[in-house]
Symmetry: C2
Subunit: 242 residues, 2 copies
Amino acid sequence: MKTLTVVGIGAGNYEGMTVGAVRALEEADLIVGYTVYCDLVKPYFPGKEFLSTPMMKETERCRLALEQAAAGKKTAMICSGDAGIYGMASPILELAGEYGVSVEIVPGVTAASSGAALLGSPLTCDFAVISLSDLLTPWETIEARLEAAAAGGFCAVLYNPSSKKRADYLKTACGIFLKHRAPETVCGVARQIGRDGEETALMTLAELAEYRADMFTTVFIGNDSTKIIDGKMVTPRGYRHE
Amino acid sequence: MKTLTVVGIGAGNYEGMTVGAVRALEEADLIVGYTVYCDLVKPYFPGKEFLSTPMMKETERCRLALEQAAAGKKTAMICSGDAGIYGMASPILELAGEYGVSVEIVPGVTAASSGAALLGSPLTCDFAVISLSDLLTPWETIEARLEAAAAGGFCAVLYNPSSKKRADYLKTACGIFLKHRAPETVCGVARQIGRDGEETALMTLAELAEYRADMFTTVFIGNDSTKIIDGKMVTPRGYRHE
């Protein structure tokens, strides 16, 4: 059976790719992906054939990759971060049957992990991962999940915290957390993780509500035990150190 | 300043390590870790010096690594999965100041991602990560988070679902989800991810309540939209495929 490999490339730098991801892309005849991600990995795989489609064309991109795999071409589809976390693994699995193609998924390091490593250790505790994009999920559902995460004492990672059309979504999300947590709660943001212009910032929950995130930002909201230690955001796991 | 590198090694096989993790361990003079994880990576770094401590000796292990780094030895501490998700990043950051050692964290692929890739794509949606171990978190807190995740419609990943002393914790957790989700809700388990004896199974939420998990198992609980497609557990992202 023909196989399509869906590969999580991590943040986008070579260091952040797994050995398995590198191998899968080296073995592929064709790499399909969103234009920005193709441009990120091209330098590491010189001479490789790439096929890219712009954002918002996800189904088209999936069908393109599946057609190529069905035609017998060794095809890899790339996703940023992990293939299964807001990535292309689900739409590919939904469509693969139509093409008689089997699917192999190579996991990657998601922004929750790569961003956390830059900030310190904000997630060494139970946490919730929530996307603020309402393109595919109704905003009421997102709000209910923010409310549940805030009330449940979860640390939270917010993906897609903002875009031009959704400039105030992060503020709204912070407002929900502020109902359950102190304004001084430690929060952090990581931008352009693993890419040129990588930067992080620590701030309070009250400050985060006024922060202007962009689509390259991942947001971390601490819980009641999160603190700053030597400039790092740390949620203690709970060990008693003697 | 002396530096200690905390490295997430992923599931434990070479393919699952990032290029950055491999490089960090190749450059280290000494690798410190829990015995099981040291044994997993030893074959990939022949001739390297290892120092291992048994489970439950986390603070001791951290202090050992920090002492060695402070003494000028290039030291890497390894954690399974990601260093920041139930890993050693937090205790190391809490203790590093005592030793005058700076900390670098190399993120890795956590079991939520590596297990999901084996099962299909159970997490391509908002999700919560919860450990059922009550060694460091009171059980009432864990129950409150399970309740919040279930009520909030999150897919859930359960780490440390069971041990000899906590044989019925998974059943209790499933009972909480069953208050909010149908008994037919699609669930899955992944055991020994990336290691000898790797296996997965799909089952309903009602069946999961009776499943005998062990400490090598990661548990995935779907939400109302999770389904089985060609033997894979898939939570659709919500794209409308035309």
